[in-house]
Amino acid sequence: MNASPTPPPARAAQPKIVSRNVTKIYSTVRGPVIAIDDFSLDVAEREFVCIVGPSGCGKSTYLRILAGLDSLTSGQIRIRPGADPGKPLNSVVFQEYAVFPWKTVIENVAFGLQMRGVAERERLEIAQRWLERVGLAKFAGYYPSQISGGMKQRVSIVRALANDPEVLLMDEPLGALDAQTRIVLQDELLRIWEETHKTVVYITHSLDEAILLGDRVIVMSAHPGRLLETFEVDIPRPRNVDTMNTPRFAELRGEIWSLLGREVTRAMEMQG
């Protein structure tokens, strides 16, 4: 297992996200627990990077550190600011939606803009435009309790996009959805990404999803979380759900799974 944390030279030119030797150690009553061990990853501008790994490999922790919601024990993380210093560096789409139940759909989408002091009229206009793009315009005045799980996660995704961040961080955003809704939203994510070309770090436990969406798939190991291997996804864009039926897709899946499957088994044995 020779992990190659050094990205190809083409990307190294001006990475959007630089993380070097990230280590996260929790101190517990039973002693220190290493969640992430010496994890290095650079992400280029406009790149879509997917991270997969067994449960407990620290991929969500890494994302929270990246988002500034958690501290790191050692190492370095930097998101390069863009030309407009007013733009937020990152916005997170959380697995459990984290859509505020006490705000209407449109208020949720406009939340980031509101916190940055954008005038009400302007932020509602922006939010409305985003809602239209994902077909939620007529639900603008609804409360989250009145819409379905798939719709809530759409709201959560456009809340991040309306905030227009430098990078989009997605933490298993489709993990809680049923299989059909998931496919529909994967298609939608591909479509939106074609339009916006945001820099994305995407955590998922679905290998299919990672290959379908990503330019690169990073495989992590569990206990402690280390970078195992990087796979380039050379399937041309634009992609859609049918891409999963191509031979190249199956080939890549087989190749990555031979590594990931072993890792998942090892993680399960360690827990058992």
Partner: protein
């Protein structure tokens, strides 16, 4: 898969399945049986004269028979009639219970001295509303029909004097003042304790200890703290204290129970300090805060009525206790009824407020 080779394993009928009609027949038969049982039950009690001595068993039997028939009716009620059915259960039963009470006292099973008939309690209540007690200078609701005349004679002071003589308004004023003075600081401290671990660790034990202390027990001390121990100050303070501790503990639990993902989302989207409070922490804790307010309302009423029993010249509690001392049970029961009515009205008001403050929380 070639379908022709394998014989079908399930026989699909040619005709569409018949939709089961709503069948009233069995329900009707069942109800008739229950009715027959009721006739027998009541006839036996009537013939043997046992209904006078075993009246509670007799009534309980009838209660069971009503439950049995209502259950069966409930199963065949069409969706459109559901609301009516539920309403008639919710309001019909109290009416039946009151009728039973009236009957039992009328026939002399229970003494009208301790359990005056509902109709006489209603009369007493009416009397309390329309009459003015010269001795204590009070009335139940302040004789509002005299207000136009009073304004004509003495202006607003005249109207105010009328309102001020009302027991209900005195009690309501104390509850309201105590409620606000206790709930607001309680909610604020509760939020601080929910967020800050240091403050929580320092205060939690002490607050839990004081919370369980019956506030009526410290009323004498509270009285001594005021220049006018018999005035409104001590009464409002005891109500405020009991509300305060309850709200602190409840709000703290509410804030601690907030799903951390909401806080993370709030922070990630740029909410800091007060913004985080306004947009995330307070609305997220709101359901628990309102549950606490509901409990606090009950506590506030209990405390103020007990305080008015002890030491007051006015108030619904004072009035109730006064008529007990002069052995006028009808008016005492009327006083208890007013307390219950206050509880219902205040709870409805709180629910209205909750719907206004938390429009997202519907069903």
């Amino acid at each position: 898969m070639s379908a022709g080779a394998v014989p079908p394993r399930f026989v699909v009928p040619d005709e569409p399945l018949e939709r089961p009609a709503r069948r009233v027949g069995p329900a009707l038969r069942y109800l008739l049986a229950v009715l027959a049982l009721a006739v027998v039950w009541n006839a036996v009690f009537y013939a043997t004269g046992l209904w006078r001595t075993l009246w509670w068993l007799w009534l309980f039997g009838n209660f069971v028979l009503i439950v049995l028939s209502a259950e069966r009716v409930g199963r065949v009620v069409p969706p459109r009639g559901r609301k009516l059915y539920e309403r008639s259960l919710a309001f019909g039963f109290p009416v039946l219970a009151i009728l039973a009470w009236q009957f039992i006292v009328d026939v002399g099973i229970l003494s009208p001295l301790w359990f005056p008939q509902p109709i006489r309690i209603a009369q007493a209540l009416w009397e309390l509303i329309v009459s003015y007690d010269r001795f204590s200078g009070t009335s139940l609701i302040g004789r509002p029909w005299l207000i136009p005349q009073a304004i004509g004679e003495n202006g607003w002071t005249g109207a105010w004097a009328l309102i001020a003589e009302g027991h209900v308004w005195a009690t309501l004023g104390r509850v309201f003042a105590g409620f606000v003075l206790g709930a607001i600081p309680g909610i604020l401290l509760g939020i601080v304790m929910g967020i800050n671990q240091t403050v929580r660790l320092m205060l939690d034990t002490t607050l839990s200890a004081i919370y369980v202390l019956p506030k009526i027990a410290i009323f004498p001390i509270v009285m001594l703290m005021f220049a006018d121990p018999f005035g409104e100050g001590p009464k409002i303070t005891v109500v405020a204290l009991s509300v305060f501790f309850l709200m602190t503990i409840n709000t703290m639990a509410g804030v601690r129970d907030i799903d951390p993902v909401f806080i993370m989302a709030g922070r990630n989207y740029g909410a800091r300090g007060l913004q985080l409070f306004r947009h995330v922490i307070i609305p997220a804790a709101m359901p628990v805060i309102f549950a606490g307010l509901r409990l606090a309302l009950g506590t506030a009423l209990i405390v103020i009525i007990s305080v008015e029993f002890l030491r007051a010249k006015q108030g619904v509690g004072f009035m109730t206790f006064y008529y007990w001392e002069v052995l006028n049970p009808e008016k005492m029961y009327a006083g208890l009824f007013v307390v219950m009515a206050l509880g219902v009205v205040l709870t409805l008001a709180l629910q209205w407020l909750q719907r206004r403050v938390m429009p997202w929380d519907r069903g």
